[in-house]
Amino acid sequence: MRYVRKRQLRRDENGNVLGILPQALELREGEAYLSVTWLEHFDPQYERGLIQAAEAIRRQLEVRGNDGFSTTEVEGFCDICERFNEKVRVLHEPVNDENTGHVAIRRFPRDNLELLDLLASDAFVDTRVASHVVP
């Protein structure tokens, strides 16, 4: 699951959330990896794992109600990266006690907008507004 700020959610002209923008997956300057959270670390059942992952992110970061959470399957994510000859490494790296499900996607490319767009649309297919993801 990727935490996405409101300004990087993909919307239509009426403000309806359609998914995430490719820029939601861009590494900032100085970032060495793409941060996501592992659902099954909290619960193998998808919906419960999603809610608990969101709670973990809320403990770690300041999440606003109109921000979003977007979820991808690891295999599909890696397959798309492979198509672009990008061999990413998905590593469970808890950074603190607040989010023990933190995962770092290393060797993630910078500046491959076509790849980011495909990941945003075809990998991160379950996007929800944060205020709708509550226990």
């Binding site: 300004r7 993909r10 239509d12 923008l21 907008l113 076509e114 767009d117 495909l118």
Partner: protein, 221 residues
């Protein structure tokens, strides 16, 4: 509510719009269209309009934001957002004569929502005015009838996204009239993808093989 800068910018916007949406006080960027009558009037008018469009691309929009930019860095976030919103609306007002009134009004609503302080974080960069200038040039020159959804990149550049089913066009507006774009579209059941960085004046030329009306045209009613 805030200090003089933000208040001053809003006062200018109010003066520009007036009570009936007139823009008498806006800088006059263009010469008058021909008022010739007769068979060739429309041809002359269209030719003059094309010249004016090219002048818009060549002439800098009044760079109010650059004068202000050095002063905003230390302001609290709500004030930064307030100033950013005022700047983009003032920039829009300067070219309002080229924009449909309803279109402009809806864009302002979208920007109000996008720059709502409740949704932003302290480390976020509001929309850079230089990015918004590029967006305005794109809108004026290429005139998409359909409004996009908006976003902002990590660098503070405006993003416009058009989505119709599986057809997507995402444009990031960089400074200096450059756009960074990525698209995905279907032709005969197959998906084509492309991405690039292009001067805004060439955007339609670059997008032409992908049939831009699929994104820019209003849906049939």
């Amino acid at each position: 509510m805030y200090n003089g800068q933000g208040k001053g910018a809003i006062c200018v916007v109010s003066r520009v719009y007036g009570s009936a949406g007139n823009i008498e006080d806006a800088p006059n960027l263009l010469f008058s269209l021909s008022s010739a009558a007769g068979e060739d009037a429309e041809t002359i008018s269209n030719s003059l309009l094309e010249i004016q469009k090219r002048q818009i691309l060549d002439r800098p929009i009044y760079k109010l934001a650059e004068v202000e930019a050095s002063r905003i860095a230390d302001k609290p976030l709500p004030e930064k957002l307030y100033d950013a919103l005022a700047r983009v609306k003032l920039l829009t007002a300067q070219v309002a004569m080229h924009l449909d009134t309803e279109w402009r009004s809806r864009i302002f609503e979208q920007l109000d929502d996008l720059l709502d302080a409740e949704d932003w974080h302290e480390d976020d960069d509001p929309i850079k005015a230089s990015s918004f200038e590029t967006f305005l040039r794109m809108i004026i020159f290429h005139k998409p009838s359909r409004r996009p959804g908006f976003g902002v990149s990590n660098r503070g550049y405006l993003i416009a996204a058009w989505t119709t089913g599986s057809n997507r066009l995402t444009i990031e507006f960089l400074p200096n009239d450059t756009v960074r774009w990525v698209l995905s579209c279907e032709f005969d059941g197959e998906t084509e993808r492309a991405a690039g960085e292009t001067p805004v004046r060439r955007l339609m030329e670059v997008l032409a093989p992908y049939s831009p009306p699929r994104w820019f045209a209003d849906a049939p009613r």
